[in-house]
Symmetry: C2
Subunit: 265 residues, 2 copies
Amino acid sequence: MTVKQLSLPELVEACGQLGVANVGLWREPVQAYGLEATAKLVRDAGLTVTTLCRGGFLTAVDPAERAGALDDNRRAVDEAAALGTDTLVLVSGGLPAGSKDLHGARERIADALAVLGPYAEDHGVKLAIEPLHPMFASDRCVVSTLAQALDLAERFPARQVGVTVDTYHIWWDDNAPAQIARAGAGGRIHTFQLADWITPLPEGVLNGRGQIGDGSIDMREWKGYVEAAGYTGAIEVELFNDRLWARDGRELLAETAARFVEHAG
Amino acid sequence: MTVKQLSLPELVEACGQLGVANVGLWREPVQAYGLEATAKLVRDAGLTVTTLCRGGFLTAVDPAERAGALDDNRRAVDEAAALGTDTLVLVSGGLPAGSKDLHGARERIADALAVLGPYAEDHGVKLAIEPLHPMFASDRCVVSTLAQALDLAERFPARQVGVTVDTYHIWWDDNAPAQIARAGAGGRIHTFQLADWITPLPEGVLNGRGQIGDGSIDMREWKGYVEAAGYTGAIEVELFNDRLWARDGRELLAETAARFVEHAG
């Protein structure tokens, strides 16, 4: 999504030219290009798919909506397995329309994980609950902190459910470093993502993630926390930003790779 | 500020017509109307000033900036005392330009409180640290949770430094109810403010506070937490919202009073 202006073949080609060997993918462009075609494309290029984003949206009350969400998440697990990644990132969902019950919404996520965790394990896929910044609590994700994500994940085996550590969402939280240690001790850091915090936030706040190095977050500090917690997996850079998307995709990918070396290498 | 489209005399008159006996004021309109004139205006109308907003912005590194901020906060204490309120709300300040050091910024706030706390006490004023929503952590307030605010406040006597509990900033935090209990046990809930959480957030996110009842927050639940913690003071409604400010101020004040009764009465 960092370079969503590139088609999947363009992305794969650009990764090859830059020596980028790992890529995180989102479901929508994969579905548009075709699942099997994408799997072949990345496999032929020797690229490893680090994670698939995203499953989730598990907070509905309506039974038909809940059943639909579970079906969609099973499909997401299938897609992850077909792409050869072992990690599906979950954005848990916000409050149903008119609801003020955060606790109830979080419990419905747990109910869904009890169904989806074993399904994912059977397909060789781990679920990675992503706490989103509290500014998304009502409309996108009622899981706002690593502590909340771990409270949910720890009800299940680590091989089924862990967490996504994303600097953008947790950088303000002085409790987050201790929670990263807790996650690492339990083998539950299933992926680690970087984006920087910049202001002013745009309307709707979704597409304001900053290029690493442009904002308030010390990337090397957070990389140190996950490494100290035993994480040895890939590090993803995930930028949602209308200004970055308006630029040339290859140039942006090259800049991002260079920023990664400068700020988190 | 909820009805900043009203002049201070209009506000005082409208409060009288609605039977509103308490009002929180902001420094800018008070200074524009004149401190002594404002004090006389509210006194003659029999209105009680609940709090003065706001002091703070105590995170600068530059010595001249720090000295200037301390001077400004002493003036804010003086203004609060002149208006007859015992509570000055503090918005602590964000990261200095280019800084990524949240911890250091929080420590500089503590350094400033060590100077301002005794000054405020000498003038019969309590300082109320307001944790702001984490979406303001970089540019407005590095104190993002009640726990952080209390970690700061508890270094000083409760008669000098406590906290502001504002539903808008803390509603997402499952740790906040326990922190309200902690604050109440220490006599540190210095004011309690209501606003609702609505989306989409506007660009810059500052002026997106929702009318109570319009959003995701159960006002009565949070009122219950502060009352269970022993709080018996005034409850303020503080809305920053361009759409509300574009409306007739008297009508908005009447609506707000009605919403208060409906959702928090």
